[in-house]
Point group: D2
Chain length 348, copies 4
């Protein structure tokens, strides 16, 4: 009954089994093992591309390493003001890049507005030595608002970026949730739409702690092995990262889990959004629901033992609910009914 | 039959069980969970000190974060020239500290010579603006040579450091192996001997990927939470780090495993060292054996399927053998016998 | 006839004379000379405080070193979105701090709005490990808009900062221009109003290249000598920086020069601001004038040989004019008359 | 009578005149002026190469920026253990590169031994992710020992470097002194011998504070404008740096001044070296003399009012004497005679 964060979910049993399996087969350290190579190959195949793959244990590491590979110390990373890289990583991108700037570009529902991006780039002072230099566009999909960029939307933003010689990074901590909503292939959602480098999440969607940096632009891969090692993110027993990914990707488990989470979020969104006095803040497209609810409804939800997140702090009435692979449909329904009991009946 | 590295060993079944146990109890993310707190408390108790504890997933992260907490960007870290922090971390300490220098201080068998340390500090130019400033002494125990500092030896070096206002860091990637050889308490091997901050290893000795930064000097703890987060080393599911430590420490498992590894190394050392034409490079005190062997013996060992490490590269005849908790006594004996068959009989 | 920048002005003859004088008296290097000590003492006396003083050659160095002394790598520096540190230093603060964030806080005419600062700090997440931590408030006086904070305005903002445990930095590249407008003492304009560290400019107001970092909070001074050296900003012949400051401060030259510049800006502002079709963008308080003018007037000004700056790029009609100590009153008058000839007569 | 450091010398009158001349011609800021361009062109012509030139105010800045342009954060810079970049810049190269390592390579009299360099590179672990990566060879000419590399010696070391894909930096804080000793052209002493980037000194040899970064390898120039700005080393009144260089280079002044300094050092070296009980530590080739003298002789020198430097600290009897352009031949002779009066007559 925890809808506060998808980080509260357990690892999926098949991921745990893959871990146990890997434990029976001791191998050479630091990623020089067959399982790691097999998983790297598998991910490249998944993306239909000769991509370079670097496994790490956290999303912050995946993002910060990706940005450092793409952005010089005097570069600017354009991102949504609510993006995780700017708001929630305690300056990791600045640390890893050696002091780049993150510049917020507005847009509704967590998506960067193309016109705002054009405008920001137009006044950036590219080539002028006094100004930090435009270097990277970083998108998040699914977004922090629970919405999803379509491949066409990504392509449009990436096209603007490319016209200004920026590289394009995609923070895919919830990439699976975006993908099942988009209904397209991993390739279509990334490099075919102009993405150069991807943080491909596993942790939130059924793993313990694993993310893959997937590099589509070969020029960005050269430094990553050294950057990862020197950041302390190359595991001596790298095979345990590979094992998680192995279980996660096998037989499409990752997509099944994301579908499950999205479906429950849809139930929550549809149910809560239709309540009198309630209103959805953003469209529910992935596994998150942002909804304004009457205080009485929230109080009832909390009293019933559901764990939810008051987005703007204690006492405020905007909730974020996150569904994970382990959330249960009947919990979601019960939460909606609990809330319904405390709102004025419709039509009165 | 792998004596090339202790990183090739599997995780111990009880560590895997602890992991599985933790997976059944979803909790709040980012270390705000009971298991993490319990493990932090357990480690502090183990060291008989109100120590602050920060779990991370790699030894490089533990070392680099510890050094960054203790050393300004213009500081000097004194360490053995063969130390892992200087030789094997691709500049992680330099990255995390913001550009500190690592200065090698010689000494036999991986241990820093007190006189050499005194001399290095005497000509360091403390307080002179042109020179990077002495800041940290970093010791490794067990050392990279498989030897072990006694508490008295640590205290002597730490005393010199303290007299020059340096902080003292201990790289304890193989702390358990050192401790069981010393036959003293964790406290005696660390803060009672003058250690301010410890990288307390788990990975090499039966875990998947976990190390604890144990901070004895409260002044060094203030920045670590931010440094860890911003380095991407705070897990969203931090409980999986805690679980490993939990299994590792329970009922003294960590010490049992280290004793086992040390015993097998002793078997290897005693057996190989007594062969005609062979000579041990260093005393065998922890779980590593450095030995010069006739090429015929090495060839036989390799042909028999043992994985060993030619320390100075292909074609050279100095071997490093590392025993882990999962090494087997009879493998060790067989390796010795294999070598014995290829050396000239003694006394002829 | 150059009103494009105060950086185009020559050094004042008395500054050049001080330089020549210093050249006759060779002394020990790296600031271990009497002149440097005398100037440091003189500046402290000027501020009526036992301040520590560090001379450097550029405003960017003064600002970046000051911020680095006051802000940890995971810190946030609050500043006006148009501030030089954020807009015009190519990420120098990020470089020197090791990756801090600069957060823009809005306010009219280049001055930070206290309510906006309160709001920014309220949602900053102080103490929460996921967020970069509030660390410094950086003000600019005179501002980038040519306006001037009063001591009371500084005190109000500094009070808010202090309540949130921030340090307060003042970018005083045009400190002299602010001071003569304020009509108060250097102490009143800085530490008595809550400023902890000041970039005290000389370059724009009659020197060749010298700025003083003046440290009022002793805790911020400890690291600066090392930071300056390691940044390559300690001159081996530091006496040439001291000499400039010596000539600049002698007999109040610095204030005389600022008065002269401000007076000419006032002439420009009053004259242009009263033209039909013209409007001043900000109050003219220091030595800069921002004015919207009809294109015909601007074209005439340019054709007459005046060098001015179209603030928003070629083709736009907002001008920035900067008066320096070497600007001439009759040039200013002639510029106004030139413009007047091209605007429709008033009252028609 | 100051032989303690060439930094104690005044600026040459013709440099001061060039500065005064530049002051009469106000120009656009930040190096967008004719004088700066003319000087950049003049330096390129001097080196017979389409070199990119970046003027800065200190040798530490020139070195650190050069190294940062050539070395990634995980790189290793090979240099002599006594080199200024390793010993006397408080970690500036580490700061500017973002954490590179400086590795000392031994050699007699301040010159790197080619065999030692070969050996260091052979065991560097190029391409292995655990080790910082060989990136730059940094030579100093004239060396810290007052000796001079011939073009052939430079070419040999640079050849080794190039074979390992290193870039070659030359710290030429005393480049003029080396050049007049070598009796070759600037091109022969640098890029024709394999140097990629040069710190070309002016400060010690008659300027106030100016050095030029001269980039022979075009690939190294791309980032330097941004690096310089962001380090606070682009002067708003860059013309004052250019003016110094202009006066310094005009009519071969720089070479005349270096010849003068070298000649006086030769007088000191020949005179002191021939005294009974004295011995020169290194050959005297540029403008520095290292000599072991009887204490009585040193005491007499000091008592006579000469300023000299006891190289190994107070009470030690190894002197470093540095001649500058402003040293006087008769002072040198008098110093020698003063010492001669206190040593036992030869042959007794």
């Amino acid at each position: 009954m925890n809808f506060a964060s998808d980080n509260t979910a357990p690892a999926h049993p098949r991921v745990m089994e893959a871990l146990a399996r890997a434990n029976l087969a001791p191998t050479m350290p630091y990623g020089n093992d067959e399982l790691t190579r097999a998983v790297e190959t598998k991910i490249a195949a998944l993306f239909e591309r000769d991509a370079k793959v670097f496994l790490v244990s956290t999303g912050t590491a995946a993002n910060a390493l990706s940005l450092a590979a793409a952005c010089p110390p005097w570069g600017v990373v354009y991102c949504h003001p609510e993006s995780h890289i700017d708001d929630d990583e305690c300056g990791a991108p600045e640390f890893y890049t050696g002091g780049a700037k993150l510049a917020g570009v507005e847009g509704a529902s967590g998506k960067i507005d193309p016109a705002a991006l054009e405008e920001a780039l137009a006044r950036a002072g590219a080539g002028v030595v006094h100004h930090a230099q435009p270097a990277v566009l970083s998108l998040t999909n699914a977004t922090e608002a629970g919405t999803v960029y379509s491949p066409a939307e990504i392509a449009r933003l990436a096209g603007i970026a490319r016209a200004h010689r920026l590289k394009v990074h995609l923070d895919g901590a919830r990439f699976a949730n975006a993908l099942v909503h988009q209904g397209c292939t991993p390739a279509e959602a990334t490099w075919r739409a102009g993405v150069d480098i991807l943080s491909f999440g596993g942790t939130k969607n059924g793993c313990l702690a694993v993310e893959a940096i997937v590099v589509f632009d070969p020029a960005l891969a050269d430094t990553l092995a050294f950057r990862r090692k020197r950041a302390g993110h190359l595991f001596s027993k790298q095979r345990y990262l590979a094992a998680q990914m192995d279980g996660y990707l096998e037989n499409g488990l990752w997509l099944d889990l994301a579908r499950r989470a999205n479906a429950i979020a849809a139930t929550l969104g549809a149910g809560l959004g239709s309540l009198p006095g309630a209103s959805l803040v953003h469209k529910v497209e992935a596994n998150e629901v942002f909804v304004d609810l009457p205080e009485a409804a929230i109080a009832a939800i909390e009293k019933a033992g559901f764990s939810v997140y008051r987005w703007n702090g204690p006492g405020t009435t905007r909730l974020r609910l996150v569904a994970s692979w382990s959330s249960r449909e009947d919990d979601a329904k019960r939460l909606v009914e609990t809330a319904r009991g405390r709102v004025p009946a419709a039509g009165r």
